[in-house]
């Protein structure tokens, strides 16, 4: 009996030790492989229709799995600061072919595709293609028109097409009234910081997803900087007209009653007046880097 117990104990120890060895060895093999092979993104099957057939009656589930793969792929690339998002479109193509009613894939997928690197792939043309496909499959969903308008407005900078998308979406009885207002405003004025701020606010308010909310919040911060600078410059110009010289500090504008208080950027850093008395971001503010990233020309 005692011998059997001993044997059992020995076997348990051996098993534990054996598996610990396997685990240790596998981690070493993984490290070794990483140094030998350059990781390559692969997508074994690129044909959506073929995958749909192979999915039998379970295409909606496989579509949802593919969409989850898109999210994971995007998140991983973002985490590793990798700009190559070449598989984004094929995977979105497959996900939406498998389930043409998969609205999140169109809505968030178009943001991933159109946003400028490093936030997205910088391919608004593919985002437009994706959204047009989404609209064809889900014509009653007015938010897709909003997304199409946003891509034309922010990324393609084609304001007539943006206005047309908002206008078309506004014809849906469920669409919010601002869609029609935006169509008219963009048609008349083109791009303006106020319009951009409003549109990003709509994206922020209409999503519950933390990642998309964060993205919209980042854009809103940048838009707020533009609006603040516009307001400070307006006050500085007025100050110049009243006193005959440009203000050198924002405090002067507050003292003159042209600003109620010294504005701060979204991260809490006070704005400064630079050369020529024009408002600028504080050199210490991390917003400066974000703004530079945003204003650099696309690759």
């Amino acid at each position: 009996m005692k011998l059997r117990q001993m044997a059992g104990l020995l076997l348990a120890v051996l098993l534990l030790g054996g598996f610990a060895g396997v685990w240790k060895l596998q981690t070493r093999i993984d490290q070794e492989k990483r140094s030998v092979f350059v990781e390559q993104d692969e997508l074994a099957l690129r044909s959506g229709p073929l995958l749909k057939k192979l999915s039998l009656e379970y295409a909606p589930l496989v579509g949802a799995i593919y969409w989850t793969r898109v999210v994971q792929y995007f998140g991983e690339k973002h985490r590793l600061h990798q700009k190559n998002l070449d598989l984004m479109w094929p995977m979105l193509d497959i996900a939406t072919t498998l389930d043409p009613n998969l609205l999140p894939a169109y809505r968030f997928g178009s943001i991933f595709l159109s946003d400028r690197p490093p936030r997205g792939q910088g391919r608004p043309d593919l985002a437009v293609k994706l959204l047009e496909r989404g609209i064809a499959a889900n014509p009653d969903h007015w938010r897709l028109y909003q997304d199409l308008g946003n891509v034309y407005y922010f990324d393609v900078k084609d304001y007539p097409k943006a206005a047309a998308a908002y206008e078309e979406g506004s014809k849906n009885p469920k669409a919010l009234i601002w869609m029609k207002v935006m169509a008219a405003k963009i048609s008349a004025e083109g791009e303006s910081p106020e319009t951009s701020y409003f549109l990003w606010q709509q994206v922020y308010d209409s999503t519950t997803d933390p990642a998309i909310k964060f993205n919209a919040e980042e854009h809103l911060k940048l838009m707020k900087v533009q609006l603040d600078i516009k307001e400070i410059n307006r006050a500085a110009d007025e100050f110049g007209k009243q006193t005959g010289h440009r203000a050198t500090r924002i405090g002067e504008l507050v003292q003159a009653g042209l600003l109620k208080f010294a504005p701060r950027d979204p991260l809490g850093y006070p704005y400064v007046l630079g050369e020529g008395g024009k408002a600028e971001l504080n050199l210490d503010s991390p917003m400066l880097e974000k703004e530079l990233m945003e204003s650099r020309p696309p690759n």
Partner: protein, 258 residues
């Protein structure tokens, strides 16, 4: 009909005794895992994944039960020689077959209903209160049940004239072929002659069209299923199952059981 009812209730009791309903534990774990995980690894599809995963699991588990137990309904009775004792009583062979069919459909109904409750519980954890559109799921569950009944009928037909292994192969083969029945009908190929295309078209109507019962994609996105379609599918399943069971009864009644 009393004989049919007695055989059916006994088949149901036997299935419960054979622990067929244990699959519900697996289903419950799957749904709990999905409800916890999906929200963390994806965006905006928590509800639709719960629904499509739940319905797919109900379908796959149901198909396994329908095929594997359905094939064994007749052959097991013959192997254990309990069939001879039963047929010595005033029970017709067709009554035996119909009772067996009814018993397994009863088991599948209880199983599917329990899984549907589990699906709603999982859905409730990611979204409450439930909306009106969430009740469309019941239509999808009902259509899955019709599909399963049809598969049971096919499994019984094959088990009447061949070995259990071949009957499983034939049933699964016909199930897969039935999923592509529509493609066979709409196939456009340059190399096919008009006669061949007509032949394919004819075959496509003979095959059980299992795509008829697939509304997962519709209900997963909160859209309703037209009532007409539900009635038509019900009629299709009853008619097709009746033809298959009549064929099975005919073969079984002529089969030499010695």
């Amino acid at each position: 009909m009393r004989n049919v009812w007695v055989v059916a209730t006994n088949t149901f009791r036997e299935a419960v005794r054979d622990r067929v309903l244990y699959n519900l534990v697996f289903f419950a774990l799957l749904m709990m895992g999905a409800a916890i995980l999906v929200g963390q690894i994806s965006i905006g599809i928590e509800e639709s994944v719960i629904v499509s995963l739940g319905l797919s699991a109900i379908s796959v588990i149901g198909i396994f039960i329908a095929v594997f137990i359905g094939v064994g309904l007749v052959s097991k009775e013959m192997d254990k020689r309990t069939l001879y004792a039963l047929l010595a009583k005033p029970v017709q062979r067709w009554e035996f077959l119909l009772g067996k069919f009814g018993g397994l459909v009863m088991t599948l109904t209880v199983n599917t209903a329990a899984m549907a409750v589990g699906l709603y519980a999982a859905l409730w954890t990611v979204k409450h209160p439930l909306e009106r559109s969430d009740w469309y799921l019941l239509v999808a569950v009902y259509l899955i049940l019709l599909k399963l009944a049809l598969i049971v009928a096919l499994a019984m037909l094959f088990s009447c004239f061949t070995t259990p292994f071949l009957a499983i192969l034939f049933t699964l083969g016909l199930y897969f072929a039935g999923l592509f029945a529509e493609d066979l009908r709409t196939m456009q190929a340059i190399s096919l002659t008009p006669e061949t295309m007509k032949l394919f078209r004819g075959i496509s109507y003979l095959l059980p069209n299992f795509e008829n019962f697939n509304v997962m994609g519709v209900v997963a996105h909160g859209r309703s299923v037209p009532a007409t379609l539900v009635w038509q599918d019900t009629g299709y399943a009853i008619l097709y199952a009746a033809i298959v069971l009549a064929g099975a009864a005919m073969i079984f009644s002529r089969r030499n059981l010695k």
